[in-house]
Amino acid sequence: MKKLVFLFALVAIIATSQKSYAQLSDQEYNYVTMDLRGILNLTMTTNPQVDFVFKTIQEYRQGITRFNATKLEVDATLAWDLFVYANSDSWSQVEAYSTNGNSYLPAEVLEIESSVTSTAPVNINSFTSLLGLTNSTVAAGVPTAATQFLAGQFGTISGGGSAFAPGTAADNPTTHKFRIDMRLKPSIPATFPNSTVLLTANGNNEAYAQAGYYYLEVVYSLVEDL
């Protein structure tokens, strides 16, 4: 009889205790996806063509400097590097105005400097010869430690290199806006004494430039931290 009473009492306790689990609820779910694309925008806000016309002795002797010749703006959502190189080893001659002189002008006769200080070992923080394609060591668009960097440097941050932080030019004018100054100083005769490569480098022994019309393509390359 005692066992029976205990059993009924137990059932009664369980039955009453179940009421505490009777809180009703309902649930709904939604799913949200977020796609953060990697964006690198390099914008040249100035005319892409910079002209140097040497028509006076004074200009030959003193050279011509174009301050703010090129302005660049970077908008990036990734850590980034910016480097520069000439797309050839030498200037292309379009037309010659004389029969004497050397038609081979190495890319290095052009001097450039950037308004933004770079910590890369090879940089253009002050007027420096622009490296030609071979000397820049850029191969298929990929730089090396010997390439001239305007921002960041060869090697990832995690690998001991450096890079500039993501952001926009509008919000970070001191680091994401670049003013590039350019200078050509032929001298008389036009040997371009500031160039790190001589005009005679291609085997032509004439040490001064042939009068003529030349052009050179300068490449600015914005890449994810390399």
């Binding site: 009453t16 649930q27 709904e28 779910y29 996806t33 959502t77 990734l78 941050i157």
Partner: protein, 194 residues
């Protein structure tokens, strides 16, 4: 005497079981509906402008509440594999940090502004949810429609101004997070306020 005692106990148990049975068919229900154009809302950041100003999805979801015979609470939170951070489907870069769930901001509103949280606020993990109606303490004071914090029984058909909620979502990532594809689940919990 034995049979008398036994009869009393049996009667008591029959009574208790009948009580349980009737509680299931009592008039207390909490029902919850949700509608949206899609069960998944996608935020695609593919321009610098998107990154700078963010993306807002107005009326991303609609919550429909139908409660009978009881006060109720409504809370929301995010469920992810790694608590506090979005689930990573894939990443596109090595730089940057993983985004926290708080990157997603939510605004829950209805015609009578009954939600206790006004404006956009960052979503939290479901372990520390955000109460839109009521609170973790129970029971809360009874608040009737159309007052702020309405938690009395009602339904979205008869009183849409208090029981139908529109959910707006906003993400303003900025430039510190790692590029990639991420996801999270938002949990909406409607529960009897006991």
């Amino acid at each position: 005497m034995k049979y008398f005692f036994l009869t009393i106990l049996i009667s008591l148990n029959i009574f208790l079981f009948s009580m349980i049975g009737t509680s299931k068919v009592s008039a207390q229900t909490v029902e919850f509906g949700i509608t949206s154009l899609s069960s998944t809302i996608s935020f695609d950041f593919n321009t610098i402008e998107n990154y700078r100003t963010g993306i807002i999805k107005y009326n991303a979801f609609e919550l429909l509440v139908d409660v009978t015979g009881s006060q109720w609470d409504l809370y929301v939170g995010a469920t992810t594999t790694s608590t506090g951070y979005l689930d990573v489907t894939s990443t596109y870069s090595t730089s940057g940090v993983l985004p926290p769930v708080s990157i997603l901001q939510m605004q829950v509103r209805n015609a009578n502004n009954t939600s206790l949280v006004s404006g956009f606020s960052p979503i939290t993990d479901i372990a520390t949810p955000t109460y839109l109606i009521g609170s973790a303490a129970a029971p809360d004071l009874s608040v009737s429609c159309p007052n702020n914090g309405t938690n009395t029984a009602g339904n979205y058909l008869s009183s849409p101004g208090c029981y139908k909620f529109n959910v707006d979502l906003k993400i303003n990532p900025g430039f510190t997070y790692k590029s990639g594809l991420y996801s999270l689940r938002i949990d909406y919990i409607l529960i009897q306020d006991l």
